[in-house]
């Protein structure tokens, strides 16, 4: 789960990482209240989970209530790369002396943690990595040892941070690492990490991705549920406990297994169509799950055909066939369904469905055939 900047800052604050005083606002009036509390001048920042907010006009400085009203009014409702701004973060403006970059993430090839620190912050780190890779001090961290203050102190020197920032930055990095590990982050990034004109180091931005697998031990993450997805289909799927990702195409997809679901998207694309979603119903494919899956796909007005792609392994295809039939009894489906059933007990499963086949429920022998048929139906 990606956090909004304000959520990331709230999360940082739990671990003692210094952030600017501020608050959230969903209306212009609320923005003024927050600005008064944060003390002028303030910065008004659009809360969207996408980069490039500044360039899009989503970050503005305000010196008084009138300016807050003007900017907050403009930014609320603004569309930034397809993300509509519903919430603002208003914080006291910082006097910036220097901008740095700091992050922790998993180094997948080396199966350890990777810290990245740069004195060239405030710009996209990918750009720095491309144009001036030497400006990034990378630190490989053994998950068992962790990051000690001693290591962090050597690291800030290696990254050539300005002398007045070093001691504070080292302390902050240890806290950020703790946040990353104990807070179960996939990514904990500060860009920019700033040194203020009065010599303070703190996080001016926060980019945090939480590891969904760890949610069971973080009940406090429930606080971050606000605005997690704007996609009503994804919202509905989440409520039904489905592994669903909304896309823009016209062929609704139901598959068992993440790899097969991904592969189904690819095959639909290969034969000239486009998928409306990713949906992995997992191993079971019970009538309940199948019905829930069909309901979510049915709610998508763009869907013109549905491709159900099942490969039975442990799951028997005849059980899946029964699940589909029962689900169809419960849900009235708008689009025609194309089935591809293969694997364990496929013949039995197909036989069960045979009497129910029609121009609304079509069976195809292979994944490619089924994809072609679904795409053809979606194009009509």
């Amino acid at each position: 789960m990606d956090l909004f900047e304000y959520q990331g800052k709230q999360y940082f604050a739990r671990f003692g990482i210094s952030v600017s005083p501020g608050g959230v606002a969903d209306t212009v009036d609320e923005a003024v209240v927050q600005a008064d509390a944060a003390i002028y001048p303030v910065v008004i920042k659009a809360q969207v989970k996408v980069g490039g907010r500044g360039k899009a006009g989503g970050i503005k400085l305000a010196n008084n209530a009138e300016e807050v009203r003007l900017h907050a009014g403009n930014i609320l409702g603004m569309d930034i790369k397809g993300h509509v701004v519903h919430r603002l973060w208003v914080e006291h403006s910082s006097d910036i002396e220097k901008e740095y970059y700091a992050s922790f993430t998993l180094d997948r090839p080396n199966k350890c943690h990777l810290g990245m620190l740069s004195k060239e912050g405030g710009v996209e780190i990918e750009v720095v990595a491309e144009e001036n890779p030497d400006a990034i001090a990378k630190l490989s961290i053994d998950p068992i040892i962790g990051l000690t203050l001693e290591m962090a102190t050597a690291w800030v020197a290696a990254a050539d941070l300005d002398e007045p920032a070093r001691a504070q930055a080292a302390e902050l990095l240890v806290k950020l690492y703790t946040c990353y590990v104990e807070g179960d982050c996939d990514l904990a990034e500060i860009n920019p990490l700033i040194l203020t004109t009065d010599g303070k180091v703190h996080a001016l931005d926060a980019k945090v991705t939480l590891d969904d697998n760890a949610s069971y031990r973080h009940p406090e993450w429930a606080d971050f549920a606000w605005g997690e997805t704007e996609d009503v289909r994804e919202q509905m799927a989440k409520e039904k406990g489905l592994n669903y990702i909304g896309l823009d195409g016209t062929v609704g997809i139901i598959a068992n297994g993440a790899g097969l679901a991904m592969s189904t998207l690819d095959v639909v694309n290969q034969v000239g169509g486009s998928a409306a979603n990713f949906l992995d119903i997992g191993g079971g494919a019970s009538p309940d799950v199948m019905a829930a899956a069909l309901e979510v796909i049915n709610s998508d007005p763009k869907v013109k055909a549905i491709f159900v792609n099942i490969f039975g392994g442990i799951t028997k295809v005849d059980d899946v066939a029964n699940g589909i039939l029962e689900a169809l009894n419960r849900v009235s489906i708008n689009a025609p369904i194309v089935l591809r059933l293969d694997g364990t007990n496929a013949a039995e499963g197909r036989a069960l469905l045979q009497p129910h086949l029609s121009d609304r429920l079509i069976a195809e022998p292979t994944m490619l055939d089924a994809a072609r048929r679904a795409v053809e139906l979606a194009g009509k």
Partner: protein, 295 residues
């Protein structure tokens, strides 16, 4: 021959008394796998369909001489189970558990490397390993695999592994071993480990490798293939149309920025001389052609 396991491999199921453990453990035994014990702290002294249950791994290993374990326990206990097996001297651990936090996986993997270098972990979040006719540890349905080789399969995805087995078996092409390495960001066993083992296995004549978006394991495998693998490799990489920044079902299947795209992986593999298929069926057909042309 097979890699990592064979007909003599003795397996302890950690979590055999649970619903999933019982289901898969007994299926593995019915397939012919030597499932010699289970562990459960509270049910020691009992049995599951004749398979004795011990209080812990140390006891189970001492009593049975097993060298492999199958971890079927929930995410919160899986890493402790893996380390318990390693401490008891188990050299091959299969963990199918999905949903283990990445921080725990990273720590566990580091512990294994530092303290138990002789132990190989397969998974977590993987379907397991099957050497057709010899040994099946995990959740793969034994009847879609065909004994006798000559193909070795390694895959990050469960269902695509089954699909690959099915494509080959239904056309009479057998497998030496099929290894599901799993879809998590920190797999205990990676593509290169399996490629190395398949390259060394005289019975494996060709290798099918199924990748997916996320990370850079396929690119690393490509570099390895270019240098060390002389056997023909057919590959399919899922997720060409996956949107960036979204986890596609597997915790590790995510395009981060410009990193981890299917296209980059396919390009790297193709440059290493690997035959690239654009869907699982095409991969099956390509492998059947490869097998026809062997020798």
């Amino acid at each position: 021959m097979s890699i990592f396991v064979d007909e003599n491999t003795k397996v302890i199921v950690q979590g055999l008394t649970g619903g999933q453990g019982r289901f898969h453990g007994l299926r593995n035994r019915d397939y012919g796998t030597k499932v010699v014990a289970g562990t459960s702290p509270s049910k020691a002294g009992t049995d599951v369909d004749g398979i004795p249950i011990y209080a812990n791994m140390a006891e189970a290993v001492a009593e049975t001489g097993a060298t492999a374990s199958f971890v079927v326990v929930p995410p919160a206990g899986a890493c402790a189970a893996i380390l318990e097996a390693a401490e008891a001297g188990i050299s091959f651990i299969v963990c199918i558990t999905e949903g283990i936090p990445a921080q725990d996986e990273a720590r566990t993997y580091a512990r294994l490397v530092q303290n138990f270098p002789g132990t190989r972990l397969l998974g977590p979040n993987c379907p397991g390993i099957i050497s057709p006719g010899k040994c099946n540890i995990g959740i793969t349905s034994g009847d879609i695999a065909l004994a006798g080789g000559p193909v070795g399969i390694v895959s990050r995805s469960g269902t695509l592994t089954y699909q690959a087995l099915y494509e080959l078996s239904s056309q009479g092409v057998g497998q030496t071993t099929c290894v599901g390495i799993g879809g998590d960001p920190v797999p205990g066993t990676n593509f290169i480990d399996c490629l190395e083992a398949f390259q060394a296995d005289p019975d494996t004549k060709a290798i099918m490798m199924i990748g997916e978006i996320g990370g850079s394991e396929e690119e690393r495998a490509a570099a390895y293939i270019a240098e060390y693998v002389t056997k023909p490799v057919v590959s399919y990489v899922a997720g060409v149309t996956a949107p960036p920044g979204r986890k596609m079902g597997h915790a590790g299947a995510i395009i981060s920025g410009s990193q981890g795209t299917a296209q980059a992986k396919m390009d790297a593999l193709r440059a290493a001389g690997v035959t690239i298929a654009l869907n699982p069926t095409e991969a099956g057909n390509a492998m059947i052609e490869v097998v026809k042309n062997l020798k």
